[in-house]
């Protein structure tokens, strides 16, 4: 009877220690998860800002101004545009 009790006590102690360790592990992992989530959030924020920046740089008005003023580009007059009909699919080129 006593031996059984001792064995049970040992098992109990082992279980208790295991519980404590795993709890500790879980918390450590959770902190790590937190960090990663924070990082993901930061990337999300950065993505939004980059998107915003891209669309600000690519504003139609700005592109047009740069093209006409800085690069001296202009829309070709209709007389200098040639329309090439697309050959029907599967046809000989």
């Amino acid at each position: 009877m006593l031996r059984l009790n001792l064995v049970l006590l040992a098992v109990l102690t082992a279980c208790a220690l295991a519980l404590v360790t795993s709890q500790h592990q879980a918390r450590k992992l959770y902190v790590e998860l937190q960090k990663e989530q924070e990082l993901a959030k930061q990337f999300d924020v950065e993505w939004g800002q980059l998107q915003l920046e891209a669309s600000t740089w690519a504003t139609h008005a700005r592109v047009e101004k740069l093209a006409t003023r800085a690069l001296g580009m202009r829309v070709p007059p209709a007389s200098r545009v040639r329309v090439v009909p697309v050959p029907p699919a599967g046809g000989q080129p």
Partner: protein, 577 residues
């Protein structure tokens, strides 16, 4: 000295005293046990709560407002986190030198800043809201105790004034206040969430206890707008309003195949990124919320109704001489009398008398039916807030003079969006689709309003109107056949009409051989003298169509020398008002 028993010790105490003491002690013990039982087992919520509050915290999880994008996923409105600088004057430790540096960093007045920081009873005061993160980082770098950052979301509109009327804006707390931001608030706003966590003594979260409510970010709103066409339309409209020194203007571009709105702009506009100078008058989306009497742009519908009823054919001749027509005790005029015209020429030259004579052959219900079926007098349900239905009186109440004036667009009021949508019946084979502001994967079901034959006949008339000999030669586009109708009307004033204030409009579509776009232009109060739709609105149509068709890659359907100039000796046909 031998111990002598104290006489008192020999005293015999009564037995009940010790028993009483024992009883009291037992009672005391029982009371304690009861209390322990009560606290442990019966009423343990309170204490557990107290314990939990020592280590568990509920943290708020803010939802991000959903972005608004155009049909090609180009962003039109994005929320991005910004930092607001706040201070707690109660805990503030700041030197005068630091106040000056802080003021410089925040770009605020030093005296103002001092006043805000002076009230040491307060625990929270915003110093500056919504700074970009890098500027906010510089404020933190000053390391002033009592000055801290508060994270907020700010809405940016990359396209600025180009889409201002359409998208609207949010207030400083991120709630939709105008236009689509307001209309789709539910969808865009999302839902804030919260969760309960365990924090250690350093304030780090060590365990997630429960998620009370998961935050739901707002969903993306995909519009039918094409940012490129929107820009073209706004640019041309703004230039036309400025060049003509008109009061205002609007433009609507519709996709013929789906009924989607590709562009909708108004001028003058405002910058939605600068909430400081916000004027509600300028924020009104005139294309949807303002009514005007369409004038001659309604004549094609009169012709269509008559063609459908079979009372006329395109080549039937109508005598419009001598330029005036008495109906009851009123007389209507053609400023430029034309004599005998075919129905097609009535549309081409925009004769009021011709239109009135065609209309008077019809029963009022016939005309009313067509007007009603193309959506006049009913809100278009595009999803925009504040849509107006316009005015279309019941046919039973029409007197002949009203039937006559309505045939050329007076005595009825519409919004520009309604008018553009109604023209879909001529651009398609007589079918009408709902005009929508949201991108559709599958086009909405169309309803047939007029027969394909009538639609083609009217389309030919409208093509003639946009050529020399018509009222809108300036609507012509190199390389494409276009069709459309001008409109010029007096503005209603009091009970009658102002004689010197006009609304000029043009509604048309292109390419005429297989229409892709309907474009409607309205210019409010162009200067007298150059006030006709053909003079001020048609050029806007022409410029927008030319660039939009090229942007869409629509192959030209006409030779490049198709634009016919006005013969120098002839006078340009002026619109009837």
């Amino acid at each position: 000295m031998s111990p002598v028993a104290h006489p008192r010790l020999a005293l015999q105490l009564p037995a009940w005293r010790s028993r009483l003491l024992l009883l009291l002690l037992l009672a005391w013990l029982a009371a304690l046990a009861m209390r322990a039982l009560y606290l442990q087992g019966l009423d343990n919520d309170f204490l557990q709560q107290k314990g939990e509050s020592r280590y568990s915290r509920v943290i708020e999880l803010a939802a991000t407002r959903g972005p608004i994008v155009d049909r090609n996923n180009e962003p039109l409105a994005i929320s991005t986190p910004v930092e607001s600088v706040a201070a707690s004057p109660a805990d503030l430790e700041i030197t005068p030198e630091q106040v000056r540096r802080l003021a410089r960093l925040l770009d605020v007045d030093v005296a103002d800043l001092r006043k805000k920081l002076a009230d040491t009873k307060r625990e929270f005061v915003y110093l500056k809201r919504q700074l970009p993160p890098d500027e906010a980082a510089r404020v933190v770098a000053l390391g002033i105790p009592g000055v801290f950052l508060q994270r907020e979301h700010r809405r940016y509109y990359p396209a600025g004034e180009v889409t201002a009327h359409l998208i609207g804006l949010t207030d400083v707390d991120g709630r939709g206040r105008e236009a689509l931001e307001l209309a789709f608030e539910q969808q865009l706003a999302g839902r804030d969430g919260s969760r309960r966590v365990i924090k250690d003594r350093l304030g780090k979260i060590v365990e997630d206890m429960e998620s009370i409510r998961a935050p739901q970010n707002g969903s993306t709103l995909t519009l039918s707008i094409d940012a490129k066409i929107q820009y073209l339309a706004y640019r041309e409209l703004k230039a036309a309003v400025a060049a003509n020194r008109a009061r205002a203007g609007s433009i609507v571009v519709l996709d013929v195949a789906t009924g989607e709105v590709l562009a909708m702009a108004s001028a003058p506009s405002f910058n939605p990124n600068n909430r400081g100078r916000f004027d509600p008058q300028r924020a009104r989306n005139r294309a949807v919320t303002d009514l005007f009497e369409p004038g001659s742009t309604l004549k094609p519908f009169t012709a269509a109704a008559a063609l459908e009823a079979g009372t006329v054919r395109p080549e039937s001749v109508i005598d419009t001489a001598p330029g005036q027509l008495a109906i009851g005790n009123r007389v209507i005029h053609d400023v430029h009398p034309q004599g005998a015209l075919t129905v097609a020429q009535v549309i081409q030259k925009s004769s009021n008398i011709g239109a009135a004579k065609i209309a008077l052959e019809l029963r009022p219900e016939t005309l009313w039916n067509l007007f009603h079926q193309v959506g006049f007098g009913a809100a278009p349900h595009s999803g925009f807030p504040g849509e107006v239905p316009g005015r279309l009186r019941a046919a039973a109440s029409w007197r002949p003079i009203e039937q006559a004036t309505m045939s050329y667009g007076h005595g009825i009021s519409v919004s520009l969006l309604q008018l553009a949508r109604a023209y879909l019946i001529f651009a398609t084979d007589g079918e009408l689709r709902p005009a929508t502001l949201l991108r559709r994967e599958v086009p909405a079901g169309a309803t047939r309003v007029i027969s394909a034959r009538t639609a083609h006949a009217v389309r030919r008339m409208l093509e003639m109107a946009a050529q020399p000999g018509g009222t809108a030669p300036r609507a012509q586009v190199t390389g494409y056949r276009v069709a459309g109708k001008t409109g010029t009307s007096y503005k209603p004033e009091g009970r009658g009409y102002a004689t010197d204030r006009f609304v000029a409009s043009f509604v048309g579509f292109a390419p005429a051989s297989a229409p892709r776009l309907v474009v409607a232009v309205m210019i409010d109060e162009p200067p007298a003298g150059r006030h006709t739709g053909g003079a001020v609105a048609a050029p806007v149509f022409s410029a927008v169509v030319a660039e939009a068709l090229r942007a869409l890659g629509v192959p030209p359907d006409a030779p490049l020398d198709n634009v016919m100039l006005q013969p120098p000796d002839s006078q340009e046909i002026r619109e009837e008002v």
